[in-house]
Subunit: 345 residues, 4 copies
Amino acid sequence: MTVRFGLLGAGRIGKVHAKAVSSNPRATLVAVADAFDQAASDLASQYGCQVRSVAEILAASDIDAVVICTPTDTHADLIEQFARAGKAIFCEKPIDLDVERVKSCLKVVDAEAGTLMVGFNRRFDPHFMAVRDVIDRGEIGTVEMVTIVSRDPGAPPVDYIKRSGGIFRDMTIHDFDMARFLLGEEIESVTAQASVLIDPAIGTAGDYDSVSVMLQTATGKHATISNSRRATYGYDQRIEVHGSKGAVSAENQRPVSIEVANASGYTRPPLHDFFMTRYLDAYAHEISSFIDFVESKSPASPSGIDGLIALALAEAALKSVKESRTVKVSEITGALADKSVFQGR
Amino acid sequence: MTVRFGLLGAGRIGKVHAKAVSSNPRATLVAVADAFDQAASDLASQYGCQVRSVAEILAASDIDAVVICTPTDTHADLIEQFARAGKAIFCEKPIDLDVERVKSCLKVVDAEAGTLMVGFNRRFDPHFMAVRDVIDRGEIGTVEMVTIVSRDPGAPPVDYIKRSGGIFRDMTIHDFDMARFLLGEEIESVTAQASVLIDPAIGTAGDYDSVSVMLQTATGKHATISNSRRATYGYDQRIEVHGSKGAVSAENQRPVSIEVANASGYTRPPLHDFFMTRYLDAYAHEISSFIDFVESKSPASPSGIDGLIALALAEAALKSVKESRTVKVSEITGALADKSVFQGR
Amino acid sequence: MTVRFGLLGAGRIGKVHAKAVSSNPRATLVAVADAFDQAASDLASQYGCQVRSVAEILAASDIDAVVICTPTDTHADLIEQFARAGKAIFCEKPIDLDVERVKSCLKVVDAEAGTLMVGFNRRFDPHFMAVRDVIDRGEIGTVEMVTIVSRDPGAPPVDYIKRSGGIFRDMTIHDFDMARFLLGEEIESVTAQASVLIDPAIGTAGDYDSVSVMLQTATGKHATISNSRRATYGYDQRIEVHGSKGAVSAENQRPVSIEVANASGYTRPPLHDFFMTRYLDAYAHEISSFIDFVESKSPASPSGIDGLIALALAEAALKSVKESRTVKVSEITGALADKSVFQGR
Amino acid sequence: MTVRFGLLGAGRIGKVHAKAVSSNPRATLVAVADAFDQAASDLASQYGCQVRSVAEILAASDIDAVVICTPTDTHADLIEQFARAGKAIFCEKPIDLDVERVKSCLKVVDAEAGTLMVGFNRRFDPHFMAVRDVIDRGEIGTVEMVTIVSRDPGAPPVDYIKRSGGIFRDMTIHDFDMARFLLGEEIESVTAQASVLIDPAIGTAGDYDSVSVMLQTATGKHATISNSRRATYGYDQRIEVHGSKGAVSAENQRPVSIEVANASGYTRPPLHDFFMTRYLDAYAHEISSFIDFVESKSPASPSGIDGLIALALAEAALKSVKESRTVKVSEITGALADKSVFQGR
């Protein structure tokens, strides 16, 4: 079986997924839609697919699945439409910047029993997957403390930051998901501190550029996250898990691993300077994994609920900074009374 | 000039300092005192010094300086006595478990204009000193985020824990001092979370074995600390400083640095399993540095105030855990109104 | 312009090149030929190309270039035929196991002014290219000593060894080429020692499984090569260049770079266990580079002469072992009197 | 029991051993002799020992053992005198630059049944000892190939080089001994190549500054050695042993192990720049081991024979370079007919 794809959004991340879909022997890229005709037709001619409107893709009988790479504020509506149309859906994170909107969207998906996968690409990085495998094999015993350091090479434009929902929803959200992925249980409380150390314009825009977060689960496990919007040495992405029997870590990745020695010392090159080269393999594995779920009709992972919880953690972190206190996740998600959302987990 | 030493306390850490003093060409170990005669005479015969009582050392005209390695609850009294006797004082941390007692003790030292150095040995580790040097040379620009991971190979006996003042005062206190040493400015607020993950008996004793701490300065700099009372892989001691122009880190140390490769992979030996071997060089540098201060009659560093502040940070961390909120350091130290304590910094 | 390819040989290495050609946006795989119909048609259906005979590819007007992946004893004849047919040629190493046959073949290529590139894939590994770049930028000054360690995960079947021309022609030949690539000047003399340490059957077949080689240039530069047919820890491929101002090295590569720490120490996973995964990127860059030469009609590198010299070094090494002495390369190649072969270098 | 030492020679290496002896709780430094009165009295006052003549030390009843650190051309005579006087002898390498003189000297030691240890300090480096331990525990199976890279930070003065016996006897001799130590069996043949790449004055003095050596044992095991008299990055000392089940290596050592990251990459400091800091621990272990042999009256290791064989390997290497061929060690040592020298091994 070959899964036939429609791509919604031909921007930066859309191109990444177009390449991943096209390179996958179990997938065909049938059509692309974009608000900018030129972007759509450029991508279409590069990958030999058609340009169609969103409506046409929605109605198409020759399309099984869509990849949603449009602006964030369109995600929830598109998910609902395509879920109702019976298409399998891969959506870039976040589903929406508002927790309540995400909940209502997920109810629709739930009602349609649709396949929805959310794009937390880092879970599919081969090194991070190997860390998870070490944990699963019991090599480090019971997980106790997760340490995540995640720094971007440089801050995005302030215009982007204004639309981003803030650093917790835009950047830390990946680390919240990674913390859950590695802890292996739900987070109960969030405590965060945040500063503007890099660019005052970021502060003026109401956001932060340097944040630290502590997470705790009901059984007392810890995770800490350290984020900065700037790292001169490249895209700094490290995870480490300490357990009762040992620890496991994933090192940073660099494009070339040579070392030059001279009177100044021993120097290795900087890290990757862009998430697309750093996570190139992860994007390919992510789409391949989505195809697995589509083919097997099994629930996708990371799911819509995973997307909701990561967003709730971001909101809790922001609340923690504002109120200088530890925030319970249940303050954000409610008492999880809405069982339809969380059922089946 | 040779500095003539008296040693108070011939226990585990006393032996470390006896060795450091004896090996230093600028020092002579004249006498040792210990509540247990046998301990004192054993150490005296090993290093060729006399056994004397504390009172005799206090009155001795042939002793310039003392190293206080007695139980914590005797530190403050001894410091006051020896300051009044005009001896230079090196005291193992902490000065006392109670912040107010430390303050009153420091007032006495202050009034006598005495030399008091507090034993934060890690500042003298050659690798950590090199990290500080990199910062001082401006190689990483402005310091922004400090990350400290500090894990003991194993938990001490519960009896020890009961007398220790708790993990923040006993273990994290070193990391609080290291955070200040690396941040280069005072910490304004402390947020902590703490769990019992290793041994329920530690919880029964009212303490924790796994803690995470976030610190923030008035200018918004961050430090995070991750502590565990157990690490199967050895004495895990890492520091990392991220700044505006780069980052600097100190790796873990191991007794032998070989690597064995086979079908299971590439394996390097575990780390040091004991603080005395890990910080062997640090203890020697520490005493050497103390001798510098004694000889030059300049204020010692780390000072009594450094000891007080580290203790206050520990108390703030404990308060943060209890109250699930960020605690201002000034809540513990007061508004620093007592200028006599903080003057001259 | 798109370069249209014919592929000769659909075996293991043929498949590698089929993938590299197919994935390259500047190339089209038009046809494949193989003595085994099934192998050819399998590959053809996978990559959507035709099955043709060698004669048909030779005569085809819709094919610009061929990739020769057939058995070694057919290489020289095929090169001559396709050079006369005006096709650009990429040929897997070696051109032939006999130096004189290689010379006569290269004369034909020379006479036809044809494009011939020989498959020394390692020159195109991104890490090794980066080493060469460091040298070219003068960062290590004048090259003085090259050290190459190259070990296979396991020995090939004895049947393969019997047809291989021996370890120097089959395995070390890559290191001979790498030594020249890194030294940047011609090798004057070769000294080698060889043993059978792994499998007596390899000795019975007249070959060795463990060899050491020293090379020297006219100006006195050194290279050493250490080869083994077995390494339990994976495909061990390291190069290091020591120069007047410093040194540069390329580390081993592993599929995942995690580290597990426990009471036994710190363990990273084994290396790649297969040349195809280790040099996956190198194969893609190699074909891309060949396309550059075809498009620009400039002389290919590594050239037929590079193939000839590497083979001559292998022959010199074997002679050195047999005669327990240093062998001049000119003893094998002759006094380079045949200028038509070496002209233009 | 305390071993009472006389020290012959108060130069650079004499000071190293004076420190090692003085720091050892099982040893006392009783007296020092040196042709330069000032050197002897300086060292005597530093370590609180007497200045005596060689004759006085020879006749002294309060001296059990001597450490010979005088110029090389006095070693053999001193060894004979002190062996006849019944003193235990530690002698810096080499015993003599002439193989026949070493043989005759060892006959005297043999006849007196004296204790003679030769100063191959690297065997006592904790990292290299750990490599040997891994081999002894069978972790890498049968040893097959040893790789040694050994580079000095800078060339010694040409005056020194003229008296040194040449690079093989002066520098490579340590690596010859290390190769034997790691191979665990005798070397049968030596092949070497040598160049002058650093300083033409070294060539004018009849010596080389860059050498490569291959060694082979009777069972076919290999060792390769790469030496340079210059390494801008410090004192480069690496060993690696490849065996049937795996490999083990010892990394380079540096005084501080920090890493600075910025836009230029990740930089660790240079290596030790001097053998005395690099091998500080080794010298202490070496003297401690000598004391073991003196106390237990067991044969010392490395022995006089070990010194003889390392020298013979150096001579074989030089002969190999001169004659462009592999040289059998038996060409230098003879057919080992002189059993008195080799007995008891």
